[in-house]
Amino acid sequence: MAPSRDRLVVSASTVLQLAPHVVFRFDDTRQRWIMMAPERLMLPDEQAVEILQLVDGKAGVSAIVDTLAARYTQAPRELIAKDVTAMLQDLLDKGCLASGPSDAAG
């Protein structure tokens, strides 16, 4: 059961989902999205919320970037890809995300 000692590095083909025991939900009191993980409470901003809503254990990172690029045509795709990858890697390193069921790397 011990977690892997290898760090997963996010690439365009990586498929991610929320880690078990991570809760991402809307909080009625504060009227905003929150993410809770063991010993952590995060308050994602609008852009982070939009990305997290696309993390579903099915879409690969490149598909998530495509969706966002289609929504925000004025932003260069490479810039979106860079921001999305950095955010997902950070959350993966914090243990908030895990590789998705269909990701071979998992």
Partner: protein, 372 residues
């Protein structure tokens, strides 16, 4: 959308906000006798503890008030037979629940029931890596073996595990082995937390406060491991504030984020707050949690910055560290409204410097905490 890169960070806004987290101290009963125990010197009796029905009501009030996370703690919370019911109540209210335990009572059967009731995470304490050292600090023989079995049970039922190890001059040299132990037990997080000097720990301070050289070696070890284990093991490292230049942002500010409920139902801004004289803390038996949070004298006494004197009042860090710790200010200066003497700007900083000089002289003896 894009230009600015997406950010995730704690939210900071002016005014009194709803609390984020509740520490539910279900009982002061505990099979361990750690000589740095952070519970009050005068422990609350089992016969005074809130009932299951009272805790259920309090959890509902907490969720309605805006609390997001509940930490079930103690004492040893597994000494309460209704713990599984309270975890279920918390889950039903949408609260994210965490169990803070010594692992000395119960095992896989209980953990399976907790997981099914909706528990999200377990934080398990160890006192040291080697069994003999662990059990000597815990004041309980066989404790290390029980904790190790408990850690395996946590992973067996699929719950995420954090290890918490309190460090001090007598075990600080073993930080590398602590990290290896956390990996071997399947933890994803490790908290290496220095003793904080309140209650029993203040009594035993000379036996625990590390030297500067010890601290610097441990800090280097942790920083190297963090880099090496990025994405594998997160290491939270709380340095002893006596060795700092600026005080810790205690509780992220009095009455800003956090509330604590004692076994008998007293509502506190932090779990050591009862050491402060002249403050009376309301009970959930007498008032609603919302009333206590927003309107009680105790929660408003050190809230914000209006209570501050110099050097805090005009300090550029006044809304970063919030004047440091009120309990520490009282314990070391006799006045809870003074700056935390850990701050090098405090006129009382000499008391901390004296303690640090004393730390250069080795003292090993300590006094065990006793229940009751």
């Amino acid at each position: 959308m894009p230009p600015a890169e997406p950010r995730i960070e704690p939210h900071v806004a002016p005014g009194v906000e709803p609390p984020l987290a509740l520490l539910a101290e279900l009982t002061h009963r505990c099979p361990l006798r750690c000589p740095y125990c952070s519970n009050p010197l005068k422990l609350e009796r089992a016969s005074d503890e809130l009932t299951e029905a009272e805790w259920r009501r309090v959890l509902g009030e907490a969720a309605a008030l805006g609390v997001l996370q509940v930490h079930f703690s103690g004492g040893e919370p597994m000494a309460r037979r209704d713990l599984v019911a309270l975890i279920g109540e918390a889950a039903g209210r949408g609260l994210y629940s965490n169990l803070i335990t010594s692992g000395a009572l119960g095992g896989e059967r209980e953990l399976q029931a907790f997981a099914e009731a909706g528990l999200k995470h377990v934080q398990l304490s160890f006192q040291d890596v080697a069994a003999a050292d662990n059990d000597r600090i815990a004041g309980l023989s066989g404790a290390h073996a029980r904790k190790s079995a408990f850690a395996q049970a946590v992973r067996a039922v699929g719950l995420p595990l954090t290890l918490n190890i309190v460090v001090h001059r007598q075990n600080l040299g073993g930080v590398d082995q602590m990290i290896e132990m956390a990996l071997a037990l399947g933890a994803r997080r490790l908290e290496i937390a220095h003793v904080q000097y309140y209650a029993w720990a203040l009594t035993n301070r000379a036996a625990f406060l590390p030297t500067r050289a010890q601290l610097d070696t441990a800090t280097r070890t942790v920083e190297a491991a963090r880099e090496r284990l990025k994405g594998v093991l997160a290491i939270d490292y709380v340095v002893p504030d006596y060795h700092g230049v600026r005080p810790k942002s205690c509780m992220n500010g009095w009455g800003r984020r956090f509330l604590n409920i004692s076994p008998a139902g007293k509502v506190l801004p932090c779990h050591a707050a009862e050491t402060l004289p002249g403050l009376s803390f309301p009970s959930v038996r007498d008032a609603s949690l919302a009333d206590i949070w927003y309107r009680s004298e105790a929660f408003n006494r050190f809230r914000g910055t209006d209570w501050m004197a110099e050097p805090c009042r005009n300090c550029e860090r006044r809304t970063i560290d919030w004047g440091g710790c009120r309990c520490q200010a009282f314990l070391l200066t006799g006045d809870a409204a003074r700056a935390d003497p850990v701050c090098a700007l405090s006129p009382d900083h000499g008391v901390v410097e004296t303690a640090l000089r004393e730390a250069e002289q080795p003292v090993e003896a300590f006094i065990y905490r006793q229940y009751g």
